[in-house]
């Protein structure tokens, strides 16, 4: 039986800022991306008590919590802390999967007995995180990642909970389906439409009914309802379904021409990450979020799988130019999907060979000296630092359920 442990930092960015500035401790704070932006990236628990949430407009947040202190976030602090946390986890097991900037799964199956059992590992990690960084972490433990995640959700903040395999069915029986990792509000609404509101009901629902309503996702939902992890994925990129990056602009932009540099920057981030892992994508998607927060995405195929920045960029620009933007845009994302390993075949044509050599040289410099040390000229004006995306991780591509 596996033992998985999830470490989830409590209100990570806000906790780091409260640690850094003692005057902020115990006060309601909201971390924002820049002084031009108006959206809360993370709210401290003190602010959450007033109803302040991630993604909330600062005006709404201030209305709910007039004493809210806004703090501009700093990626370097969060990245450094996240990397140091990874080093800490590796002292307990070599099987560490960094899921996001503030969440990591540890497979402690083979190592927990060395430390006195799963709960003792969880207790020690919480204590060390508190001692080193002064911030609280919640630890969830279970027989797989789904249950570990649930255990953490049920015990936040500053919690520690172990749901053993024999307890899973009982814990899930009466929980709302929204509590499950990977079951969002929309899926829950669709489940409610067929009379399923509890995890236990989802786990017992006929597979045929779920398949008819949700397609292949139906079987995954049933597995989640039973507290099982839908499918095993390995750690080398197989199972990765997409690679993407998004950014919120310092100010809303109106035309595709204004967004060109940003699209190139995002395409380079996606392309370089895919190249680092020998992966490519057959489809490019562009995610657009308007000022009103209405969000949509459009996609376009590229034929063969690629990780060439410029092919991704040109496809993304085609999508954007034909999207017919109706409002100023606050956020753009570029995603490649249809992921597959890109073969090491030597390009036939001289132009392709030169491109491949150029990308290899650029990647080599950036690996050695840091991202965007060498980059495309239109990206130079877009090297600002907003607050890092929660999905950021120190290395590798993110696996998803």
């Amino acid at each position: 039986m596996r033992t998985m442990l999830l470490v989830d930092m409590d209100a990570f960015f806000a906790s780091v800022e409260q640690r850094r500035n003692p005057a902020l401790r115990g006060r309601p704070i909201g971390v924002i991306g820049s002084d031009h932006r108006t959206v809360i990236t993370t709210a401290s628990y003190e602010a959450r008590r007033y109803g302040v949430k991630t993604g909330m407009n600062i005006y709404e947040a201030k209305r709910l919590c007039p004493g809210l202190v806004l703090v501009i976030g700093d990626n370097d602090r969060y990245i450094h802390t996240s990397e140091a946390l990874k080093d800490l986890y590796l002292r307990y097991t070599p099987e560490v999967e960094i899921y996001s900037v503030d969440e990591a799964f540890l497979d402690i199956t083979g190592s927990c007995h060395l430390f006195g059992g799963p709960l003792e590992v969880g207790r020690r990690i919480k204590e060390e995180v508190k001692g080193l960084f002064g911030i609280n972490a919640t630890v969830g433990i279970g027989p797989n990642r789904v249950v570990a995640k649930l255990a953490a959700e049920l015990s936040k903040p500053d919690g520690l909970r172990w749901i053993k395999a024999e307890e899973v069915e009982g814990v899930l029986a009466d929980l709302p389906t929204e509590m499950l990792w990977g079951v969002g509000r929309r899926v829950s609404e669709r489940l409610r439409a067929i009379g399923i509101t509890r995890c236990g009901e989802l786990g017992r629902a006929p597979a045929g009914l779920l398949r008819a309503r949700f397609g292949i996702v139906g079987e995954r939902l049933k597995a989640l309802g039973q507290g099982r992890e839908p499918e095993a994925r390995d750690r080398c990129g197989e199972g990765v379904r997409s690679i993407g990056h998004s950014t919120t602009f310092p100010r809303d932009l109106c035309s595709p021409a204004e967004m060109e540099g940003w699209i190139l920057r995002l395409s380079e981030m996606v392309g370089s990450r895919a190249r680092r892992h020998g992966l490519g994508g057959r489809t490019v998607s562009v995610v657009v979020r308007y000022r009103s927060f209405e969000t949509f995405s459009r996609r376009k195929g590229m034929g063969q799988a690629t990780n060439d920045t410029h092919r991704i960029f040109h496809t993304a620009m085609d999508i954007l130019n034909s999207a017919g933007l109706k409002e100023p845009v606050r956020l753009l994302g570029v995603v490649i999907s249809g992921i597959e390993p890109v073969s090491g075949q030597v390009p036939i044509f001289e132009e392709q060979r030169r491109r491949a050599a150029l990308l290899e040289a650029v990647d080599g410099v950036n690996r050695r000296h840091g991202p965007f040390t060498l980059t495309w000229a239109p990206c130079l004006k877009r090297l600002r630092k907003g607050v890092i995306a929660p999905a950021w991780r120190p290395s590798g591509v993110r696996r998803s359920l």
């Binding site: 850094r20 500035n21 003692p22 005057a23 902020l24 370097d76 602090r77 450094h80 840091g370």
Partner: protein, 82 residues
């Protein structure tokens, strides 16, 4: 927060349980005694790794940056604790 970005002379201790730690520094003709390091982190600039410290003298928060390549310190920003 007020951005400063000036070179400063710092007395620091190296090694020991807490690792590197600024103890006091001279800025604007005053010697500022560090009462506590509230956070420390690393920033990469090209191939350089800069070590940053948020330190307090009890009323004001200072961001100090140590560049191991040049063995130099800079005061990056000053924040009055609110």
């Amino acid at each position: 927060m007020t951005m400063v970005d000036e070179p400063v002379a710092v007395i620091a201790s190296f090694g020991g349980r807490g690792g590197m730690r600024p103890l006091r520094f001279r800025w604007n003709g005053r010697v500022i005694h560090v009462k506590g390091v509230t956070y420390r982190w690393v920033r990469r600039e090209g191939s350089r790794r800069l070590h940053l410290f948020s330190v307090t003298d009890g009323g004001t928060l200072y961001s100090l940056c140590f560049d191991p390549a040049g063995l130099s310190w800079r005061l990056e920003a000053v924040e009055t604790e609110i």
